[in-house]
């Protein structure tokens, strides 16, 4: 069977504030042999500003891209940004289920869209199509001192009717990928809490407070790193972390990295290759402290043996006590 080819929709954030997400995803896709091509002449996905004003117009913006992809003969588009993802999924859902809506959208397009392209987040592609087993096998380095809080953000899995992926209230796909990398995952209650999203511009204070809650919960849960899958979440938690500290009197210093960057680190890539230098709160120490899988396994083995030996000693001691 020919290898599945995905259309990769980069989206505007990934060209700007989140280049490191784009960079690291490409590294990880290549490392795992995921075949992807980019549509030419892609345009705005129709997210936030458009869909708050006009649903047909927003869907048309999304469908324009989908129709380009359809004409490339591809049926799955993958994207990193949850906003792009939901813009595509919503357009697809509404057009598939409502004939008049579809007509209205198509009226605005040069090239009619026939609803043949399904959107999947890069997380979903890695989790479902590549699979945990393949990810596990590709791991070369273990970040043994990381305690990760997986933060999905509010829109990736919701509403479930449209998202059709993972659990809308307690998603676990990213948790499982992190575990597959051999990294400890914290029990984090605010996986889906709102970070404040794009309100950072009009209502900075509110966003600072909301993001603070997320970080505080992660720290409370014992995490020393927050793993994200959304450019906007990353920006609010990382870029604004200092702002949060200043406005709310907190004192956070916790790296916020993309799950693809984390995968890259576990696959042995350099911080530079993964755009780790783009982070505001540095995560470089995790790159330095990682050890090779082999070393890790040896360490674990040694620990195991030490435990056994201790048990043995204890047994002998208590045994001696029993028969003086």
């Amino acid at each position: 069977m020919a290898k599945k080819r995905y259309a990769y929709f980069q989206g505007c954030s990934l060209e700007g504030t989140a280049v490191e997400y784009d960079k690291s995803m490409r590294v990880v896709f290549d490392a795992l042999g995921v075949d992807y091509v980019e549509p030419e002449d892609w345009s705005c996905c129709g997210s936030t500003p458009a869909h708050t004003v006009d649903h047909v117009f927003a869907a048309a913006l999304a469908a324009r891209n989908l129709s380009i992809i359809e004409n490339m003969g591809l049926d799955v588009v993958t994207t990193n940004c949850p906003s792009c993802l939901m813009a595509f999924k919503k357009a697809q859902y509404s057009m598939e289920n409502d004939g008049t809506f579809k007509e209205k959208v198509n009226e605005l397009l040069d090239e009619k869209y026939n609803c043949g392209v399904y959107a999947k987040s890069s997380l979903q592609v890695l989790y479902e199509d590549v699979g945990l087993e393949a990810i596990k096998n590709r791991v070369t380095h273990i970040i043994h001192d990381m305690k990760a809080a997986p933060y999905y953000g509010c829109i990736m899995n919701r509403p479930p009717k449209i998202a059709q992926f993972d659990d809308p209230e307690n998603p676990t796909s990213m948790d499982r990928i992190i575990s597959a990398l051999g990294i400890e995952v914290c029990d984090f209650a605010f996986k889906l809490e709102c970070c404040g999203a794009a309100f950072g511009v009009p209502k900075r204070k509110m966003v600072n407070e909301l993001s603070k809650k997320v970080i505080a919960m992660a720290v409370d849960a014992g995490a020393n790193c927050i793993i994200v899958a959304c450019p906007l979440c990353q920006q609010n938690l990382d870029l604004r972390q200092e702002q949060i500290n200043q406005t709310t009197g907190s004192n956070f210093n916790i790296p916020v990295i993309y799950f693809t960057q984390l995968m890259g680190l576990a696959f042995g890539y350099t911080p530079k290759e993964l755009g780790l230098d783009k982070l505001i709160v540095s995560a470089d120490h995790f790159a330095r402290s990682r050890i090779t899988k082999q070393e890790y396994l040896e360490r674990e083995k040694a620990k195991e043996q030490e435990k056994k030996a201790k048990k043995e000693v204890k047994k002998q001691e208590t045994g001696e006590e029993e028969n003086p």
Binding site: P168, A189, F190, D220
Partner: protein
């Protein structure tokens, strides 16, 4: 042939959108119609009298009433013309209300349609044949399905009325949901103290035969003569020997069995007696947990039992009972808290359901009546109750109100204060529904005397923070978001029908609504009857209902059965299928399609095989008539000729 047609105004119900006078004029022109008139309320006494007088005056021999649905008044008018000396099947009803005046606004179109419909009825009535009922003996025993408070009330009332009662209960003990409750609103009297004596009465009543841990396998027959197959499920304990001493339960090494009675608040043993007041108080093995079944070895209880009651080889047993009427009182079930993931149902041990909390409050529950939260067995100081957890929520598939959660939440909040005086309870609610006698006073008492804080708004999320559960919701009266840090959260979960409700309904041939609750014959006037004669409803199987309403319905259903059984003979409906043996080729297709097993094979004297309808069993559904390749089987009162006459009348009009 002299047909009389009576067209009803039904006040303004019909006359408002149908020109009844014009209709009468048009109908009068039909050949064979000797008299056509209109009347304000045909079903009233003077209305019926007018029909009787007209029959004499105009020498009428066929009657059509154009009014409401035949489900409403067909029987009434049949009786009227019978009193006037006509065969009661020389009667047709044309439905010009539900089918015309109530659904169409265009008077002209309505009038035309009414003329069509009545013309059809006139054509049919001219083809009608006189039919005669035969009568048959009633078996004056009654089956009660479900031994909750409604079923027990019905059984006791029937028994006290002198009827023999067969009571079938699915679980190992009677008592239903009420036996799990601690106290009951609005009087805060102890649930088991008022229920226990009823349970004992059921066990000791000489007229009541109790099948516990049994289910209905199959129902055959018709009102007056049902044959019931009952499956007695294997308990692996010989109940004739078991004394209920409980020695087995103490010694059973399988300590992690799911406790159905306590809704999983704590585990139980693989062999158990569900609760101290259980009736019957007998032990039962759960083979999903018993080591003898899961691992093939153990046998501890068999060794320990002083009366040698344990029998691992026991099989289900099928028994048959004959009865004449059935009361269904199979109760309800509750929404699984796992269906509420935003509240962490099933994920966080300190988020529990109302019924689980009831068990924590109960002196014979797993915590001996001390409120201890599941995660760490400590006493909670802040308890949050969430009303409408799943109810009135279309996304859950429960658009309806669960009826009694508002009330039991107020009760549980009061009891919390009684148990833990320095505790504080909060209730998140949409609106407080407390319309019963003394109910509103009760919910006020919770707020005013017990200091329960009521917050009007929905909870959006519950999440753990250290040892606390943070309940976040809206306070819609203050217009703010609120967060309450709770030690324990109790969800007032939605009331659902039983998972097997539809299956039971199909066995009984009764209808159920979209949600699986059984449908009464009339929502106001026939609340405990069903549309299947001989089958009655009681309690929460018909819809969410509290104890007073369930008990009331139990007694009502019993009185209906007693009234039915006050006669010795019942009249059969002659509108049933009939085989023309001259046309029948004996293929017996009808025997296989009849859903009521009402057709049997019959050998004629010349050896020829034909089909034969058992008149009393036939429900008159007509399935056989469309199956028969020869047109040999005809439904009386709905024969091919009668229906074709209607079609012809319509097409010619």
């Amino acid at each position: 042939m002299r047909v009389g047609v009576f067209i009803c105004h039904c006040g303004n119900n019909i006359a408002g959108t149908v020109d009844v006078k014009a209709v009468a004029e048009e109908i009068r022109k039909i050949p064979g119609v000797a008299h056509a008139t209109t009347y304000m309320y045909t079903c009233s006494e003077p209305g019926q009298d007018e029909i009787k007088e007209a029959i004499k005056k105009y020498n009428l021999n066929r009657i059509v009433v154009a009014a409401c649905s035949p489900r409403m008044h067909e029987l009434t008018f049949r009786r009227t013309i019978e009193k006037a000396g006509l065969n009661k099947y020389y009667f047709e009803m044309a439905n010009i209300r539900e089918h015309i005046s109530w659904v169409g606004e265009n008077k002209e179109a309505n009038t035309k349609k009414a003329i069509d419909v009545i013309t059809m009825a006139v054509a049919k009535v001219m083809q009608d044949k006189p039919l005669f009922s035969s009568s048959f003996k009633i078996n004056k025993r009654v089956l009660v399905i479900g031994g909750g408070v409604a079923g027990m009330q019905a059984a006791l009332d029937c028994g006290d009325g002198g009827l023999e009662v067969v009571l079938v209960e699915k679980s190992p003990s009677v008592g239903g949901m009420m036996s799990r409750l601690d106290k009951t609103f609005p009087t805060i009297d102890c649930s088991i103290c008022i229920l226990g004596p009823k349970m004992v009465d059921v066990a000791q009543h000489e007229k009541i035969k109790l099948y516990a841990y049994s289910e209905i396998e199959d129902i055959k027959g018709y009102v007056g003569n049902y044959q019931i197959k009952i499956r007695k499920k294997a308990t692996y304990v010989d109940w004739t020997k078991c004394t209920g001493c409980g020695a087995c339960m103490e010694k059973c090494p399988s300590r992690n069995a799911y406790d159905y009675f306590n809704f999983g608040v704590a585990p139980t043993r693989a062999i158990n007696i569900p609760f101290p007041q259980a009736i019957p108080k007998k032990a039962k093995i759960d083979p999903n947990y018993c080591r003898q079944f899961t691992k093939g070895k153990c046998g501890v209880c068999a060794k320990i039992c002083p009366t040698k009651a344990i029998n691992y080889e026991m099989q289900d047993e099928i028994v048959t009972e004959d009865v004449g009427a059935i009361i269904v009182a199979s109760g309800y079930s509750l929404l699984d808290i796992e269906r509420l993931p935003e509240y962490g149902g099933g994920r966080f041990p300190d988020v529990i359901s109302g019924i689980q909390y009831e068990r924590l409050l109960n002196a014979s529950g797993p915590t001996a009546g001390h409120i201890l939260r599941p995660s760490d067995n400590t006493e909670p100081k802040t308890v949050v109750f969430v009303a409408c957890a799943g109810s009135r929520d279309k996304s859950i598939g429960v658009p309806y109100c669960s009826n009694f959660c508002c009330m039991y939440i107020a009760k549980q909040a009061i009891l919390t204060k009684d148990h833990i005086p320095d505790s504080q309870s909060y209730v998140f609610y949409m609106d407080i529904r407390s319309p019963g006698k003394g109910y509103d006073e009760f919910t006020r008492r919770a707020q005013e005397d017990y200091g329960v804080k009521y917050i009007r708004g929905r909870v959006s999320r519950i999440y753990p923070k250290g040892k606390k559960m943070v309940v976040r919701g809206a306070d819609t009266l203050l217009g703010t978001q609120v967060e309450v840090e709770a030690d324990l959260v109790v969800l007032g979960t939605a009331v659902l029908s039983n998972p097997d409700a539809a299956r039971l309904a199909e066995k009984l041939h009764i209808s159920y609504d979209t949600f699986g609750f059984y449908v009464e014959s009339h929502p106001k006037l026939r609340p405990v009857e069903t549309n299947t004669s001989g089958v009655f409803l009681a309690g929460a199987c018909q819809g969410p209902k509290d104890i007073p309403a369930s008990v009331g319905q139990g007694s009502a259903a019993a009185s209906k059965v007693l009234a039915l059984f006050s006669k010795d003979m019942l009249e059969s409906d002659p509108a049933v299928a009939k085989v023309n043996i001259n046309k029948c080729v004996g293929c017996l297709k009808c025997v296989r399609t009849c859903p009521f097993q009402a057709i049997k094979e019959n050998q004629l004297r010349d050896g020829r095989i034909v089909a034969d309808v058992i008149e009393t069993v036939c429900a008159g559904c007509g399935v056989c008539t469309s199956t028969c390749p020869c047109g040999a089987i005809q439904l009386q009162h709905f024969t091919d000729n009668q229906i074709l006459a209607e079609v012809n009348a319509l097409c010619q009009g």
